[in-house]
């Protein structure tokens, strides 16, 4: 098993893919290295959130994804 990174909304276009698999475990610096520089740049923005295993992280730099976890990258939302 590995960690699946999921790109939501406009980040999917920036990443050029919907998902990617990386080796577990995955922390914040590992995430920044795993994704394209354009995506890593967006991750630095305060309004981009990260969820791990279905929970939005209060502090995304504390990411600690284990085997089988899904890490979702959540850009600013636009509903309604």
């Amino acid at each position: 098993m590995a960690v699946t990174i999921l790109f939501l909304g406009p980040l999917r276009d920036l990443a050029g893919q919907q998902t990617m698999e990386v080796e577990a475990p995955l922390n914040w610096s590992g995430l920044l290295e795993a994704v394209r520089p354009e995506v890593a740049g967006q991750l630095g923005e305060q309004r981009v959130n990260v969820a791990c295993a279905g929970k939005v992280l209060a502090d995304k730099t504390e990411l600690q994804a284990e085997d089988g976890d899904e890490v979702a990258l959540l850009p600013p939302v636009s509903g309604g």
């Binding site: 939501l8 909304g9 969820a51 279905g54 939005v56 959540l74 850009p75 939302v77 636009s78 309604g80």
Partner: protein, 148 residues
């Protein structure tokens, strides 16, 4: 059914939904509803809303609970479309039932402001030259800040 929160991947029947909501809240003094639609703006041909399964619906349920407690609601209906829609189609239907009208109006307003800028949904439009992601507007952020 005090709180009826759904994500729908097909069109919704507004009349039926509101009739059922109304009859489920016989003790309410007032029911307020808001229907949001795809605006036929310029060359917009379609609109697509995407969501994230583990977060979107659970967070919408939490939002509905917060609104119920804050405005002393008898009940709320919060239905949001996902998938591809065309101009004129319904995107979102919110209805609130309360003893008094101010609470029902306030809760519908509160729910809509939060669905616009705090629900886990991403919107893009298809125009003549392809798909474009919609950025949150400054106005949406100001609207939600009113409730802090």
């Amino acid at each position: 059914m005090p709180l009826d929160v759904r994500l729908l991947d097909k069109g919704l029947s507004v009349g039926e939904a509101l009739a059922a909501f109304n009859s489920a809240h016989g003790a309410a003094g007032g029911v307020v509803s808001f229907l949001g639609k795809v605006r036929p703006d310029g060359d917009v041909r379609a609109l697509e809303l995407s969501h994230y399964e583990p977060l979107t619906l659970p967070a919408m349920r939490e939002l509905a609970k917060t609104a119920r407690d804050r405005f002393a609601l008898d009940g709320a209906l919060v239905w949001h479309r996902i998938g591809v829609m065309t101009p004129g189609e319904a995107i979102v239907l919110v209805a609130t039932a309360a003893r008094h009208r101010r609470d029902a109006f306030g809760a519908a307003d509160y729910l809509m402001d939060h669905l616009k800028s705090a629900a886990w949904l991403w919107k893009r439009e298809r125009r003549a030259d392809g798909w474009h992601w919609i950025e949150p507007r400054g106005q949406d952020r100001e609207d939600i800040a009113r409730w802090d």
